[in-house]
Amino acid sequence: MPAIEIFGLEKIYNTGFWRKRAKRALHPLNLTVEDGEIFGFLGPNGAGKTTTLKMLMGLVFPTSGSARILGMELGDPRMKAQIGFLPEQPYFYDYLTARELLNYYGHLSGMESKQLAKKIDAVLEQVGLAGSAGVQLRKYSKGMLQRAGIAQAILHDPKVVFLDEPMSGLDPMGRREVRNLIENLKANGKTVFFSTHILSDAEALCDRVAILGQGQLRGVGAIAELTAGVHGRVEIVWQGTEIPADIRSIAEYHRAAEIVRAVLPEESQDAALEALRRRGLRLISVTPVRTSLEDYFVARLGTPRDAETVSIQTQAHS
């Protein structure tokens, strides 16, 4: 059974004073996330990632479409007992300490007091907050808040964990820790669904990704599959300071000491080498550059974002 199934989930907001202007935050989305995988939900800011997550959590009601998590309907308390959620830039009751916060959330998730105390200690240890468990959250740094957020998301041992920008606000050490955490979750058989706009994190962790742009799904699949279709690039290094005109127009290049390093599209490789040979420039190396997710990303999403508000002439229901 898939962990998450999304059937045509759509959200249209009616904005403006008379609620006539429709803003389509999410076009009908169809998506399936398998049990036990780490799934990345990618896209630039404003693409509709958070809207999707909010609908899955029951915080926002879809305009149309439906979804199932672990085979159960959205809003079903039995389903909610088995999921964890870390919202974007979370803010918690700052008058509570981390321990009190987890105690509160644990009870709300239906955990028994006895096992709760032990679990809290374990989880605090896991996220590296054991030392600050008794400090009020208003004194926490951003990174510590993020970790507290992860703690409350995994406290009740959920089967599916939803993370919205889990790396935000973390320094490199923190990000490494979160990455390890996510890998551990997968090792323990959990499904992780996390959204981010940082592609390197996704590349490192995800089994599959979906790319969202302007409220629409632009691509979904394993990273290797996605990048295979994109034309690669090649890096050519030669000695000297001269850059032939042909190369200059198609490559990104930079000079250092007496070396020029240029990266250009794979298909132009032969023409470039020919240009260098004609000039008599000495070739040092030719290396294929691995297509990255970023290449795929840029290819699918194009250049500057257009306006995100799409006026819809016809009646739109909220």
Partner: protein
């Protein structure tokens, strides 16, 4: 999401039933509250303090207190009279908060001086109230009328005529004030005067209770006149035939009456041993003639709707 549908239905039901029950409970509380002595305490009894506390909104507060006057009076009255202890303090507060609330003076003038169980029976307070009103509204002739009425009730015909005269001198005064001044000076105690006074009140007042009161007085006057006139006819009959008539039919046969005489509320008069009686004196509260010996008027004067 059947769960949330169920919650919505439950919530909507509680909302509607709750508000309905709340309204019913309010009515119950109002009724229960009114019959206890709890009502008899004024929250704040000093008009000056109240004026200061009202933070400049004394007009509104005067209006609120005025509605309380009406409710209070109506409540006590419908429960059979008793004491109207709070009438004076309430009216005092009302007029101190808004000295230009003319209806308050008319109401106070009438019901402060009226004898219990119809009113508070304190004419001195009534005079004080109306004079305060005149002081603050020197151009309003209605107040002089109210004052004149109080004095008339006290049978102080001189002061009554005085008030009518002063009132008649104001610009825009109703012409009958001058007429009444003269009438009162010469014929203060006559029935004709009484009839003029009550008719004037009946026609000029906007207050339902005062109008009902005036109508009752007029009916009583009519009944008194009728009884006097009928008894005179009975005596004439006796002189003519040497004996007392047993029924009114005999008077009709003798062409002294045109039909069975009816009192102002439509019931026929009764003839017994040469005396004329009213069949249902309860319907004619202020009547003085035509009452059987030993008749005690009910404590609650039955003020029927004015017609």
């Amino acid at each position: 999401m059947i769960l949330s549908q169920r919650i919505n239905i439950i919530a909507a039901t509680i909302l509607i039933c709750g508000m309905a029950c709340a309204a019913i409970l309010i009515r119950t509380i109002d009724q229960a509250h009114a019959s206890t002595a709890v009502q008899e305490t004024l929250y704040i009894s000093s008009p000056k303090l109240l004026k200061r506390l009202s933070l400049g909104y004394h007009g509104l507060f005067a209006d609120i207190y005025w509605t309380r006057v009406v409710q209070y009076f109506g409540g006590v009255h419908s429960r059979g009279g008793g004491t109207y202890n709070l009438l004076w303090p309430l009216l005092n507060i009302t007029t101190q908060l808004d000295p230009h609330l003319i209806p308050a003076y008319e109401f106070g003038g009438t019901f402060l001086s009226a004898k219990p169980p119809n009113g508070a029976g304190s004419p001195e307070q009534a005079i004080e109230l109306v004079q305060y009103g005149i002081q603050n509204n020197p151009g309003d002739w209605h107040l002089y009328y109210d004052l004149a009425f109080i004095y008339y009730d006290l049978k102080d015909y001189r002061h009554s005529a005085d008030a009518f005269l002063k009132g008649s001198q104001l610009p825009g005064a109703h012409p009958f004030l001058k007429i009444m001044a003269a009438q009162m000076a010469e014929h203060g105690g006559d029935i004709a005067t009484a009839r003029m006074m009550w008719t004037a009140t009946y026609q000029t007042t906007h207050d339902d209770m005062i109008r009902a009161n005036a109508a009752a007085h007029l009916r009583a006057l009519q009944a008194d006149e009728d009884v006097a006139m009928l008894e005179q006819l009975v005596q004439d009959y006796r002189v003519r035939t040497g004996r007392l008539p047993q029924t009114f039919s005999e008077l009709i046969s003798a062409r002294m009456l045109r039909g069975i005489p009816l009192d102002p509320v439509g019931h026929p008069y009764e003839l017994e041993d040469g005396r004329v009686f009213i069949s249902d004196p309860q319907d004619l509260p202020f009547v003085q003639k035509g009452l059987r010996p030993g008749y005690i008027p009910s404590p609650v004067p039955k003020l029927m709707p004015a017609n």
